[in-house]
Amino acid sequence: MIRSTLAIAAGKLARHATRLRGGGSALPGLVTERIDPGILAHTLADLPGGVVVVSGTNGKTTTTKMLVALLRAHGQRVFTNPTGSNFTRGVISAMLSEVPLSGRLDADWAVLELDEAHALHFAAAVAPTHALLLNVARDQLDRFAEIDQTAQLLTRLAEQTTTGVVLNVDDSFISRIHRSVGPDVSVGWFGVDPACADRLPELQEADVREVDGAAALPVTADASLLLVHDERSFTVTGSGADVGPVTLRQRGLAAMINATAATATARAVLGERFEPGVAATTLASVTPPFGRGEVIDVDGQPLELVLVKNPAGFTVALGTYGSEPVATMIAINDNYADGRDVSWLYDVSFESLREQGVALTSGVRGWDMALRLQYDEVPVERTETDLDAALEQFLHEHADGPKRIFCTYTAMMHLRRRLAARYGLARFGEDAQ
């Protein structure tokens, strides 16, 4: 315990130092972990509720945010890691701001968004009580070269979980994990209600789709299913009482399925204490996290930044926004954090942009993006690989109307920094309220 105290003290010091320099979020965590590798176990293992891990390729951030809101609305004290720090050291760094030297967190639950590989690293230190496994899609192929491999990481995470797992019934890589959980571990399900199963292709790639989905679940299964009413509103059906109709503050089917997953997990965590009415009100009030449809006011006109990072995500984003008549720019970089391979652009259909066309393609791979659009017969007005020049032209030439930029991670960071300087935005990791 003395070791933990020392480690926390050193981490706090490092945190203070990096703050002064405006540095990254992982270093203080690294310092703490070096001194006490067991720091996570010491701090999190004694929480009166438990530890909930959210993992999978797409939707972690939004879903985690919703789940935290749901638990807090039910009177639970929740510790969580801020957006973008879904690595073990990021979790430790986040902890440092809230934990006293004694190492006791003032919380009932920890709800942590973790990257697939790091979720396992984390579970080796602290066995989660609950795990929500969202989906497996092609993403960051440089790190997770194979979908099979990613699915295995999540299976091993489920094996470590002690109380309950919540699985996506429509993703065959995830749904088959139910065979691997321990005998005393409950299995909850989320997915798309069979009544609107025709919407599934908008959510995922063909190779992860199970033919039967929720329709194949036994009647006794504990399932929370998404029933879509229209583009904005939906109800989460199943397991006793329905939640909804709900209208989210974020658009699109992807946000609805995230809300369904968060609801399923809140049910698993809270059990009898779960109140459908409280859940519906809470979901309706959650604001979208950074990069997930953030809207910036640019001289009286909305500019929307949409982060795209893999085929499933881009497909969902186009399904949500594609056919709307707004000026569109697409910025594709191929740095490590973007994924260095741009092949995935050919696994996305851009037909919904055909009528409207694309004003500009930009980023290091701006020409590859233009080429991709050519094959889907989407007209492109111009290509400017320099992001600053492209942004300048885009804002200037479309000053009188709403605008949208689809961008990969580092392109978004770059553009957002420029826009922040001009229009005063919240910093990365903080919420734009």
Binding site: A145, A206, R340, D341, S343, Y346, R372, Y375, T383
Partner: protein, 250 residues
Amino acid sequence: MTAGTGGGGPSKGTVHIVHLYPREMSIYGDLGNTRALASRLRWHGYTPVVHQHHPGAPWPEHAHLLLGGGGQDSGQVRVQEDLFTHADRLRAYAADGMPMLMICGMYQLFGQAFLTVDGTRLPGLGILDVTTTGNATRMIGPVVLDTLAGEVVGYENHSGSTVLAAGQEPFGTVRHGQGNNGADRTEGARVHEVIGSYLHGPVLPANPALADHLLRVAATRATGGWEPGEIDDSVAEQAHARQVSRLLAG
């Protein structure tokens, strides 16, 4: 901005493209190769017909060009049996000069054998005289090659390390990247009109000269000749040239 002249005038003929196992073996955008060939045929004034061949399905009646891509290990296992059902047909097509482009996993399956990490020998079709050995580390990254179709850019992502038998021509020489095995600067293999390669990207959209080479051979088989249309490839040329100069400079 339409890239081709297409549209006008009567079709110069119908060319049948068979994509082998698009569900299991078309990871990392390999479907883009099929799309590129179909679009370019249209732009050249031909009529493309794309057949998607799935395991267990009857073989299409007409075939002038075959395409295959990479897949997950699980996908590879699912297609193997069907591939061997058609082994004799595929070997005969290859010997007869049918153009084929086999990427990554399908390239390996078109070789003599795949030796797994634990020493098991999985036989391939033997159309390309290459042998692949499973590796713990992957070869991943952008690639530039010199080939008979000029400079080719793409992206490799494979754990298998492939070695050419004596006398087996490579598809290209590596100028940037790893290639077949990271050691001998060869990439892929070619025999008759069959090309095996590790290049995703997908390889054809950004390398129109390679795409048109395959189409010329296929259209000649289908219609007795090749009358290319005029295609504006300026966007592809920009994408291609920028990758080449950036990778060779670095």
